[in-house]
């Protein structure tokens, strides 16, 4: 353990590890210092200048986020000069900000508004030099409103250091500096994967998910439409945070009840579709291993990852599993099998999915994702944040709701489907089924601990009796790049690779509640594994409703109808048309 040091902030003695910053010391002691560019899981930028403080013996004010705490320092966070400096900084920020707060999508969780409220600023003394610039809203996933940007640089860092894409960059210099993209104004013109990580770190509403709430309300209020909804595994352990619960709180029951209150006709579970994905995907792997197909096989459930490989490394697409993601498998089954059972036309069934992801919005809009060739299988995708907003719009007292249960038949799921929401989960779920397919024996110890955890690159060896297979798990596109390089250099001797676009898997997705930090992600992951352990059935192929679905409709994995509905194709999208 590091040496502890003692310093004084606002007359309070604080003991903290050596090497921590003054801001961290203050946060630990619950002393308020405003900040906008600081983010616990990012590097120090010190560009918003809001966390200025006064240190005895220093001639100037310093930024507390970038100054290390030293023994016996005497710090003031509320002195006159600090207050004045803070006020000027904020007023300058506001003089170039589109502060239409009442109609802004961030409403109650805008970091800038919180700081302005706390500092009691009513007006900016500076002449506003704000001019409205066009909004980037041409893609189905993300809206970029540069008018709201405060140039903190969090989005640039996450795009560069976590995802390794560096799509967003600082353009121009001095007061003309803007966060931007090359040439064309729109994210749809360049090789953006729509992972939405930028939107989950943005302190204001400069980058947000595309709002589809109204589309859903319209469908709910349309008597012709039968509106059904599926909820992704990662949502249930994170949405509580939007209502003040601690990270990792499982609120599945409340989600179901709130969805019923909102007016959805039936509430289903994406975990069911995840089980279906596992059966199809494991069978594909089994076939590839047995028949000498292209190995390693790579998972295909993360739409951000699919966008990445299609746009950056299309030559490796044959490695990607042809299985659709659980969201799309659910949509395809809903618009065919379910519609037959219900005796309703597919176009009168409106399928909503609640996802931790912004790229899912893009996935749902793809041409390949229309079972009948006309209507999309998934009609609307809401992120976790949008869903929480919908609950708040309806004045539902979420925390005091009774627990409800998912509807049958698509509400029953196994533990394997549940852990789809975190890194290593798809791998573990697939191995549970693949092992039994390959060996014909029952798997005794179903916990594959090697593939769990937040390590960026995980490996494991699975003993199949007569042979051993190597598997790998990566998350975040920066780590995906490592696997891609290994593949290109023929160093990847794996049979199966799981890739998740976002750090931590879906629980760290771009549509998740704000404060997507490492400790929060770990808690969400732990909660999913608890859910898995609590399930009676923990292997996807043993899900009785999946067995029934195959018996009544799909016949067997990779049957003609399964191939038509549950599998897809990918395209080379490396060269976008020149703008």
């Amino acid at each position: 353990m590091n040496k502890m040091i003692e310093l004084i902030i606002d007359d309070e003695k604080i003991i903290i590890e050596e090497g921590k910053t003054i801001l961290e010391a203050a946060r630990k002691a619950n002393i308020y210092i405003p900040s906008l560019c600081y983010h616990p899981s990012q590097t120090i930028k010190a560009n918003c200048r809001l966390c200025l403080i006064e240190i005895e013996g220093y001639s100037k004010l310093v930024t507390s986020c970038s100054t290390k705490a030293e023994p016996n320092m005497v710090v003031r966070t509320n002195s006159d000069s600090v207050k004045k400096a803070r006020k000027i900084t904020l007023e300058l920020l506001l003089s170039n900000h589109d502060f239409n707060c009442s109609i802004c999508s961030r409403e109650d969780n805008c970091e800038l508004k919180k700081v302005v409220d706390k500092e009691g600023i009513n007006d900016s003394r500076f002449l506003s030099f704000f001019t409205k610039k066009p909004i980037d809203n041409t893609n189905p996933s993300i809206i970029r409103d540069i008018n709201k940007c405060i140039k903190c640089g969090r989005c640039i860092e996450v795009c560069k250091n976590v995802q390794g894409l560096n799509i967003l960059e600082e353009m121009s210099r001095s007061h003309k500096m803007m966060v931007g993209i090359p040439r064309g104004k729109y994210l749809s013109d360049i090789l953006c994967t729509f992972c939405g990580q930028c939107s989950s770190v943005c302190p204001v509403a400069a980058i947000t998910e595309k709002d589809d709430i109204n589309k859903v309300w319209l469908a709910i209020n349309n008597p012709v439409k039968h509106v059904i909804v599926q909820v992704a595994p990662a949502v249930r352990v994170s949405i509580g945070e939007m209502f003040g619960l601690e990270a990792g709180h499982n609120v599945t029951g409340k989600i179901v009840t709130s969805l019923r209150r909102l007016g959805f006709n039936n509430v289903y579970d994406t975990n069911f579709a995840a089980d279906l994905t596992i059966v199809e995907e494991s069978y594909e792997l089994f076939k590839r291993v047995k028949e000498g197909g292209v190995l390693p096989m790579i998972t295909s459930c993360s739409p951000g990852w699919i966008n990445y490989i299609e746009q950056y490394h299309p030559e490796l697409l044959e490695h990607v599993s042809s299985c659709k993601s659980p969201q799309q498998m659910f949509g395809a089954i809903a618009k065919t099998y379910y519609s037959e059972q219900l005796k309703r036309k597919p176009e009168n069934i409106f399928v909503v999915s609640i996802m931790p992801c912004t790229a899912k919005k893009y996935e749902a809009s793809r041409e390949e994702m229309k079972s009948d060739g006309v209507n999309p299988d998934i009609d609307a995708v809401l992120t976790t944040r949008e869903f929480a907003k919908m609950i708040k719009q309806s004045q539902i007292d979420f925390l005091n709701l009774e627990d409800g249960n998912f509807d049958d038949p698509f509400g029953f799921s196994t533990g394997a489907g549940t852990i789809f929401g975190n890194t290593g989960g798809v791998m573990e779920a697939a191995l549970r089924t693949f092992y039994e397919m390959a060996t014909g024996k029952a798997l005794a110890n179903i916990d594959f601990k090697d593939v769990r955890g937040l390590k960026g690159f995980k490996e494991a060896v699975i003993d199949l009796g007569d042979k051993k297979v190597k598997v790998a798990v990566v998350h975040s596109l920066l780590n995906a790049k490592k696997i891609i390089n290994m593949l290109k250099e023929n160093r990847a001797d794996y049979a199966f690779i799981e890739v998740m676009c976002c750090e931590g898997g879906c629980i760290g997705g771009g549509g998740q509640p704000y404060n997507n930090q490492v400790d929060v992600k770990q808690k969400r992951i732990d909660a999913l594994y608890h859910l898995d352990e609590a399930k009676e059935i923990r292997k996807s192929h043993q899900n009785p409703f999946i067995e029934k679905l195959y018996k009544e409709f799909l016949i067997e994995p990779h049957s003609d109808i399964a191939k038509k509905l549950l599998h897809t194709t990918y395209n080379d999208r490396k060269n976008k048309p020149e703008v």
């Binding site: 560096n166 353009m171 090359p182 360049i190 020149e578």
Partner: protein
């Protein structure tokens, strides 16, 4: 010269990006870098296109915007500013019939701002290509423009 050859020569490392960009711009007569050129440089150096465009937008010596034969760069820093660089800008805009940042329709002149060019002793100063002109007044501008035209 071939772009890839320039990159080999300067060293295929991200930290050499600015030198490479300057050299490649020479291919286009010091005017600008085209988007295919930017794409090649980005791919070769393992940087994103955004990063390269960001560099181009930061430095005034390199640009991705098409510029005229004569790029008139007017210093905006303090010494030039207090010595009336604003009037110089106005005069140029009037004489050339274009606004700051634009290029004349005959493709001859582009007006640009630049940061300090180290000519504070002869402020207000401008730079056209490698030549510097100092101690300017609005009256001297027409002469500079006709001198450029004569050089055709």
């Amino acid at each position: 010269m071939d772009i890839k050859k320039i990159i080999e020569e300067k060293g295929k490392k991200p930290e050499n990006a600015i030198q490479i960009l300057k050299e490649v711009q020479k291919i286009n007569n010091y005017k600008y870098l085209s988007s295919p050129q930017i794409k090649i440089i980005a791919d070769e150096l393992g940087l994103s296109e955004s990063k390269i465009v960001s560099l181009l937008s930061f430095y005034t010596l390199i640009t991705e915007k098409y510029r005229g034969k004569y790029v008139i760069q007017i210093c905006t820093n303090v010494s030039c500013y207090v010595n009336g660089s604003n009037n110089i800008v106005k005069e140029f805009e009037k004489e050339l019939g274009i606004k700051m940042g634009e290029t004349t329709s005959d493709g001859l002149f582009t007006l640009e701002y630049t940061s300090c060019i180290g000519c504070c002793n002869i402020a207000p100063a401008i730079r056209i290509g490698n030549k510097k002109f100092g101690e300017l007044t609005p009256q001297k501008i027409q002469a500079i423009i006709s001198k450029c035209r004569e050089n055709l």
